[in-house]
C-alpha cells in the first residue's frame, strides 16, 4: 500500500500549485477533487491501519490514520464551503488574484497537515508542523485588514517560538535515543518505541515537558494559547475551520507521539499528570471565557481550547476506553467544529458582522444553515446523538474506572459551564427575533455552504449513533498502542 502514502503526499501539493496558476473555476474544481481523493486515500488505510513507503520515511499506523481521516474529511468539505463563501467585491483582477491565493493556500495548508502524520521520523514531523504554521500564517493575513495583520504576526511569532521549544524537545529525545541506538539513527517512531524503556529517564522527562509546551502552543493549551482566538477570528472562515478542526488536532498528534515514548520510559504517571495539568488549565480558562465573548468566531475559538483541554484530560486517564474516546473526539470535533465555522461563515455573510450583539433571528434569516449551525453547536456541547456525546461519555467512563473521580467531577462541571456559554449565545443570535436594525432578508448565501454543513452534521451523527465497524476497530487499535498502565 506504499503508493497510497506517496499519493497522499503528492496530490494536495500538486493541487496547491495548480490552483496558483489555474483560472478560479478550474482551481475550485481541482481543490474539490484533491480533497475528495485525499479523503478516499485516507479511508482506504482504515482497514489495515498500517503502510510504509520510501524506505520507511513515510509510515502510518492506526494512530496516524485516525488523524489522517480527520484531516481528509475536513479538506473536501472546506474546499466546498470555500466555493460558496469566497465572494470578495472589487476589481476583477484583484478578486481573481485573491481567489487564487486562498485556494492555493488552502490546498497547501491541507497538504502540510496530511504530510505530518505520514512522517515516520519525529524530526520530520516537527518540520511538517512548522510548515503548517508558515502556510497558515500567510492565510490568516490574506484578508489584509488591521485585525488580520495583527493576528497573523502574533500567530507566526508565538507558534514559531513554541515550535522552537518543540525543536529542543526533538533534539533531547534524539539524545535519549542515541544512548541506546548510537549516533546517526533516523528518529523513526517504531525504533524509538522499541527501545524507549532503556532511555535515560531524565532526558525523556525533559523532552516530554518541552514537547507538550512546544507543540502545545499550537494545540492551544493554556497558558500558551494566546494566538488562537485572534487567528481563528481574523482568518477567512475556511481557514478558521481548518485551523480549529484539523491543525490543533494535528499538533496534538505530535504530543501523543512524545507521550508514547514517555510512557514507555517513565511509566504512565508523569506523562499523564503533565497532560492533566495543561488540560484542566485549558478547560477552566475556555469555560470561563466562553461566556464573555461578543465575536462569534472567537466564541468558537474558545470552544476549541475547551475541546483540546478535554483531549488532554482524556489522555490523563489510564483506561483504554478513555483513550479511544479521545481519538473519537478528534474525529467528531473535526466534523462539529468545521460545520460550526461553516455556519458562522454563513451568518457573517448574511448579517455582515461577527458581533453577536448585532445578530438576531438567524434561524429565520438562514432557513437551512441556521438550523444546521444550531445542530453543530449542540454537537459541540456534547448533546446526543452526536459524536462528541459518545466520545466524552467514553472519557468520563474511563475516568470513573481509572479511578479519577475528582477529575471527572471537575471535567463534567466545566463542560456544563462551557455548554451554558455556547448555548446562551447561539440561542440569542439564532432564536431571538430580529429588530429593525438587525433584520436581514431571508435566504442562503450559497447551496455549497449548506451542502458542506449537511455532510458535516450527518458525519457527526453517524459517529454518535453508530460509528462504522472498521473505524471503531481502528480507534481501539490506536488506543491500545497509546495506552499504558498507570
Amino acid at each position: 500500500m506504499g503508493w497510497d502514502l506517496v499519493l497522499l503526499m503528492v496530490v494536495p501539493a500538486v493541487a496547491g500549485v495548480a490552483c496558483w496558476w489555474a483560472p478560479v473555476s478550474v482551481g475550485r474544481a481541482i481543490g474539490l477533487t484533491s480533497g475528495v481523493l485525499t479523503f478516499v486515500l485516507a479511508v482506504l488505510l482504515v482497514p489495515s491501519g498500517h503502510a510504509e513507503a520510501l524506505g520507511s520515511w513515510l509510515r502510518v499506523d492506526p494512530l496516524s490514520v485516525v488523524f489522517l481521516v480527520a484531516i481528509g474529511f475536513l479538506y473536501p468539505l472546506t474546499m466546498a464551503f470555500a466555493v460558496g463563501y469566497l465572494h470578495p467585491a472589487g476589481d476583477p483582477d484583484a478578486v481573481a488574484r485573491y481567489h487564487r491565493r486562498v485556494l492555493a493556500g488552502l490546498n497547501l495548508f491541507c497538504w502540510a497537515m496530511v504530510v505530518a502524520p505520514l512522517m515516520n521520523s519525529l524530526a520530520l514531523l516537527w518540520v511538517a508542523i512548522e510548515v503548517t504554521t508558515v502556510i497558515s500564517a500567510l492565510l490568516v493575513a490574506v484578508d489584509d485588514t488591521p485585525g488580520a495583520t495583527e493576528a497573523a504576526w502574533k500567530y507566526v511569532l508565538i507558534a514559531s517560538m513554541g515550535l522552537g521549544i518543540a525543536l529542543f524537545a526533538t533534539i533531547v529525545v534524539y539524545y535519549a535515543g542515541s544512548t541506546v541506538l548510537g549516533n546517526g539513527y533516523e528518529l523513526f517512531i517504531p525504533q524509538l518505541l522499541a527501545h524507549a524503556r532503556h532511555f535515560p529517564s531524565q532526558a525523556v522527562r525533559l523532552a516530554f515537558v518541552l514537547a507538550v509546551l512546544g507543540f502545545g502552543t499550537k494545540v492551544g493549551f493554556v497558558p500558551v494559547h494566546t494566538w488562537l482566538p485572534d487567528a481563528h477570528s481574523e482568518a477567512p472562515t475556511p481557514v478558521s475551520a481548518l485551523l480549529s478542526g484539523a491543525l490543533l488536532a494535528m499538533s496534538f498528534y505530535a504530543v501523543l507521539r512524545y507521550f508514547q515514548v514517555a510512557v514507555r520510559t517513565l511509566g504512565g504517571t508523569f506523562p499523564r499528570d503533565v497532560l492533566l495539568a495543561f488540560g484542566i488549565a485549558s478547560l477552566v480558562l475556555a469555560a470561563l471565557s466562553l461566556s464573555a465573548q461578543r465575536d462569534l468566531k472567537r466564541l468558537l475559538a474558545y470552544s476549541s481550547i475547551e475541546h483540546m483541554g478535554i483531549l488532554a484530560i482524556g489522555m490523563s486517564f489510564a483506561a483504554p476506553i478513555a483513550v479511544a474516546g479521545v481519538l473519537l473526539q478528534v474525529l467528531a470535533h473535526a466534523a462539529a467544529k468545521g460545520t460550526a465555522f461553516f455556519g458562522a461563515g454563513s451568518i457573517v455573510r448574511r448579517f455582515g458582522t461577527k458581533d453577536m450583539a448585532r445578530i438576531r433571528g438567524g434561524i429565520a434569516a438562514l432557513p437551512w444553515s441556521g438550523p444546521l449551525f444550531v445542530l453543530a453547536i449542540l454537537g459541540l456541547s456534547a448533546m446526543p446523538p452526536f459524536g462528541i456525546f459518545r466520545s466524552e461519555f467514553q472519557i468520563v467512563e474511563g475516568g470513573l474506572s481509572d479511578p479519577q473521580d475528582a477529575v471527572v467531577a471537575v471535567l463534567v462541571v466545566l463542560v456544563v459551564l462551557a455548554f451554558a456559554g455556547l448555548s446562551w449565545f447561539s440561542t440569542r443570535t439564532m432564536f431571538s427575533p430580529s429588530s429593525g436594525q438587525t433584520a436581514v432578508a431571508r435566504g442562503e448565501p450559497s447551496a455549497w455552504i449548506v451542502g458542506a454543513m449537511a455532510v458535516g452534521i450527518v458525519a457527526l451523527a453517524v459517529l454518535g449513533v453508530h460509528p462504522p465497524g472498521q473505524l471503531s476497530q481502528l480507534l481501539s487499535r490506536a488506543a491500545s498502542e497509546l495506552g499504558a498502565p498507570r
Binding site: A123, V131, E150, W153, V156, M161, G164, A203, P229
Partner: protein, 223 residues
C-alpha cells in the same frame, strides 16, 4: 599525570564559542538599533557555524561540514540580508521598543541565563562531540532569546529573537545530537528559510499597514 579539572584545548575553545553565542544574545537584547541587532545575529550565526566546523574537524563528523556550509550561507548571509533590506525599504533606524530599562532587561536576562545554566548543568548528559556545559550555555541563550521577544516591542527584534532561538537550539544539537542525519538537518534549514520568508512578508505587511515597525500598535485583539 592527569590534571583533573583542567579542560582540554578542544573543550576550552568549544566552551568559549558557546559563551560567545550567549553573549551575543545579551548584546541583541540591549542593542538600540535594529540594524545592530541584525549584525549581531549574523555574528552569532558565524560563531555557531564556526563551532559546527570545529566539531566536524576535531570529532571527524563530515556531515557537519555540510551543515556549517548551509549555516554560513543561510544564517550568516541570506537571513540578515533579507532583514536589512526590509529595514532599508522601511527607512527606519531606531524603533523605541524597550518595555523595560536596559539595566532591568539585562538583570532579568541574567536571571534567566543562570536558571538555564544551573537546571541543565545539573542534568547528567554525556556527549562525545562537545563538553556538556555548552548545552547549559545553549539553554541559557534560548531563554534570553525568549526575553528578547517578550521585552522588545518591534517586529525586527521579535523576528531576530526567533532566529537566534534557532541558533541556541543549533548549539544544543551540536552537543547532544551531532550525529543527526543530514537529511533531517537540511529539512530544518529549509524550514527555517521558509519561516524567514514568511516573517519577512508579514513584517512588510505590518509596515505597509501601520507605517511603523513597532508592535505597540497591535492591541486591537483582546479577550
Amino acid at each position: 599525570m592527569t590534571h583533573v579539572g583542567v579542560p582540554s584545548t578542544y573543550a576550552a575553545v568549544a566552551e568559549a564559542l558557546a559563551v560567545l553565542v550567549l553573549l551575543s544574545e545579551f548584546a541583541m537584547l540591549r542593542a538600540p538599533l535594529s540594524r545592530s541587532q541584525v549584525h549581531l545575529y549574523s555574528f552569532q550565526s558565524l560563531v555557531v557555524t564556526g563551532l559546527a566546523a570545529f566539531v566536524a574537524a576535531d570529532r571527524h563528523v563530515p556531515g557537519l561540514y555540510a551543515i556549517a556550509g548551509i549555516s554560513l550561507v543561510l544564517k550568516v548571509v541570506v537571513i540578515p540580508a533579507i532583514v536589512l533590506r526590509l529595514l532599508r525599504d522601511a527607512r527606519v533606524e531606531l524603533v523605541p521598543s524597550h518595555r523595560l530599562g536596559v539595566a532591568s532587561m539585562v538583570l532579568l536576562a541574567l536571571a534567566a541565563a543562570v536558571f538555564g545554566l544551573f537546571v541543565v548543568g545539573s542534568m547528567k548528559v554525556h556527549s562525545t562531540s562537545l563538553p556538556t556545559p555548552a548545552l547549559a550555555l545553549a539553554t541559557a541563550a534560548v531563554l534570553v532569546s525568549f526575553l528578547l521577544v517578550i521585552l522588545r516591542s518591534d517586529v525586527v527584534s521579535q523576528a531576530v529573537g526567533f532566529f537566534s532561538l534557532e541558533n541556541g537550539v543549533s548549539v544544543a544539537s551540536l552537543v547532544v545530537a551531532a550525529g543527526l542525519p543530514l537529511i533531517v538537518e537540511v529539512a530544518f534549514f529549509f524550514d527555517l528559510l521558509v519561516a524567514v520568508v514568511v516573517f519577512g512578508v508579514l513584517m512588510r505587511v505590518h509596515h505597509a499597514r501601520t507605517q511603523t515597525l513597532s508592535t505597540t500598535v497591535l492591541d486591537r485583539l483582546r479577550g
